[in-house]
């Protein structure tokens, strides 16, 4: 399906009844060179870059639900590259650069809005920490700006600057960061992959991984056995379950993260604002709803729903930062299952099985990483070699003592 001004007029005149699907609904073939388990953002991006950049076109993406039903449609749509550690920052900056060219690359409007992400600080110590993080970003060639209180008051006048416990003293701003329309990212990658010949097979759940002589030969699915040359796992919150089918033991725990959206308002919040007194982030969608979230609920869970006490805590944080939020009504809340890794950083690596590749551990930073995750995973699958920006994101880093622990929280997945 191609879009143009002409096609909008033509379809309007025919009652919008003749739009075509954006991707095919193929029956699975008996064998593919590469099968990707998981039709979320990362799986679709992997398939797209495999076909487009690495010339591997005989690819299938297997999705147990409908396309975009998982975390790619359940996040708060923030894209940024304001990480501190040298193992993370080049990867996320690579992702940010891919975001900046994504609409041209896909010829699809993902509504990337580089409105700036500002992280607030509330004490001198926190200011020091953000100066350090900003400097670490500059070291990797990424612009960061420290915005002091008076300047911030002009930018964002409605914050609670004089809160007794968490006064707002300023913030660290990345201007290139912002938001993107999450569903459009899934659809754009799906259409792009489909055009390059990738079979996207929805409602096809993998029930087993068949191995012979130590290598994967294919997968058992609800649509029968499908053979493959290489198998790639991009199953996010269900990575442990899929990994178990190949006897992989993973450093992951699945946790639930909630997100919320309010009724539509006139434009009021111009940036993505991150509260530093706790952990709370908010932005305004193009439709006008305020989209916000905070931390995971804290207990391991596979249910795509959260706890009311956490919802209350999130609201309290929001109102502490922006008192005016108390007047806004929440329309919807939802939960997603996060594959929390033991250091809070992702894993893109080979496994102990030669032709089985692993992409997991996205914690709650998966959406912003979608393009780089797909690109680096495709690089790994096609060339059997780690992409330079993903060198630190190895599965064996825990055993080797090279954890990439951005939060400094240790091997405690519910604290990352």
């Amino acid at each position: 399906m191609r879009y143009s001004a002409f096609s909008i007029v033509r379809n309007a005149l025919s009652g919008n009844l003749n739009w075509k699907p954006q991707w095919r609904q193929p029956q699975p073939k008996s064998h593919y060179d590469v099968i990707i388990i998981g039709g979320g953002g990362h799986g679709l991006a992997t398939a797209y870059y495999l076909a487009k950049e690495f010339g591997v076109k005989n690819v299938a993406v297997l999705e147990k639900g409908y396309l975009g039903s998982g975390n790619v449609g359940r996040n708060t749509t923030i894209v940024r590259s304001n990480y501190m550690l040298p193992g993370n920052e080049p990867f996320y900056e690579f992702s940010m650069k891919l975001w900046e060219g994504l609409e041209q690359d896909l010829n699809y409007n993902v509504m990337l809005s580089q409105r700036g992400v500002i992280m607030l600080y509330h004490s001198d110590a926190q200011r020091d920490a953000y100066v350090r993080r900003g400097n670490a970003m500059w070291m990797e060639g990424v612009a960061a700006e420290l915005i002091e209180r008076e300047q911030l008051k002009k930018m964002i006048p409605f914050l609670n600057y004089d809160h007794a416990r968490y006064p707002i003293l300023g913030g660290l701003l990345q201007r290139r960061a912002g938001t993107a329309r999450h569903d459009a990212v899934a659809w754009g990658y799906a259409r792009g992959a489909d055009r390059h010949g990738v079979d996207i097979i929805e409602h096809c759940e993998v029930t087993g991984i068949r191995r012979e002589n130590g290598i994967v030969t294919g997968v058992e699915t609800t649509k029968g056995f499908i053979g493959c040359g290489k198998l790639a796992l991009a199953a996010a919150g269900n990575s442990s379950r899929v990994g178990e089918m190949a006897d992989l033991k993973l450093p992951l725990e699945s946790h639930v993260l909630q997100a919320f959206v309010t009724e539509g308002l006139k434009p009021c919040i111009d940036h993505v604002i991150v509260y530093g007194g706790g952990h709370f982030y908010i932005s305004q969608s193009d439709k006008g709803g305020l989209v916000f979230g905070a931390e995971i609920d804290g207990y391991s869970s596979y249910a795509q729903r959260g706890n009311l006490a956490t919802a209350e805590h999130v609201m309290e944080e929001g109102v502490t930062m922006i008192p005016g939020l108390a007047r806004v009504r929440v329309l919807r809340a939802w939960g997603g299952v996060m594959d929390m890794s033991m250091d809070g950083s992702p894993i893109i690596d080979r496994t102990s099985i030669d032709n089985l590749y692993l992409n997991c551990g996205w914690c709650y930073g998966g959406f912003k990483a979608t393009p780089a995750s797909g690109y680096c995973f495709a690089h790994l699958i096609a060339r059997n070699d780690t992409h330079p920006v993903a060198r630190a994101l190895r599965l064996d880093r825990f055993a080797r003592g090279y954890a990439v622990d951005e939060a400094g929280a240790g091997p405690q997945p519910n604290l990352h």
């Binding site: 609920d297 391991s300 249910a303 009311l308 006490a309 825990f398 055993a399 997945p413």
Partner: protein, 92 residues
């Protein structure tokens, strides 16, 4: 997620009083056990979908460590026992 946890010492309490440490299904290796055993203990998780055992610390109550058995898919809580009692039972 069940909002109430029956602490064996304090009775029915809201779950916000507890801090969750995580997986309680495996014992701590001996100090001189292999690096692999320690790596598995510290970093690898079974991460089951279904019944799971977890250490919960009743920080705003009796401050005892408890072992909570619950379901990660339905959020049903099956049992809550004191961690010392749990260890005694496991040793038998």
């Amino acid at each position: 997620m069940a909002s109430l946890i029956t602490c064996p010492h304090c009775g029915l309490r809201p779950k916000e009083e507890f801090a969750i440490r995580g997986d309680a299904s495996r014992g701590r290796p001996e100090p001189m056990d292999s690096d692999e055993a320690w790596h598995d203990y510290v970093y690898v998780r079974a991460n089951p979908r279904g019944r799971t055992l977890e250490h919960w610390h009743h920080v705003a109550g009796c401050r005892r460590f408890l072992v909570v058995e619950r379901d990660t898919a339905t959020h049903e809580v099956y049992s809550v026992v004191d961690a010392a009692e749990f260890a005694r039972r496991a040793a038998q």
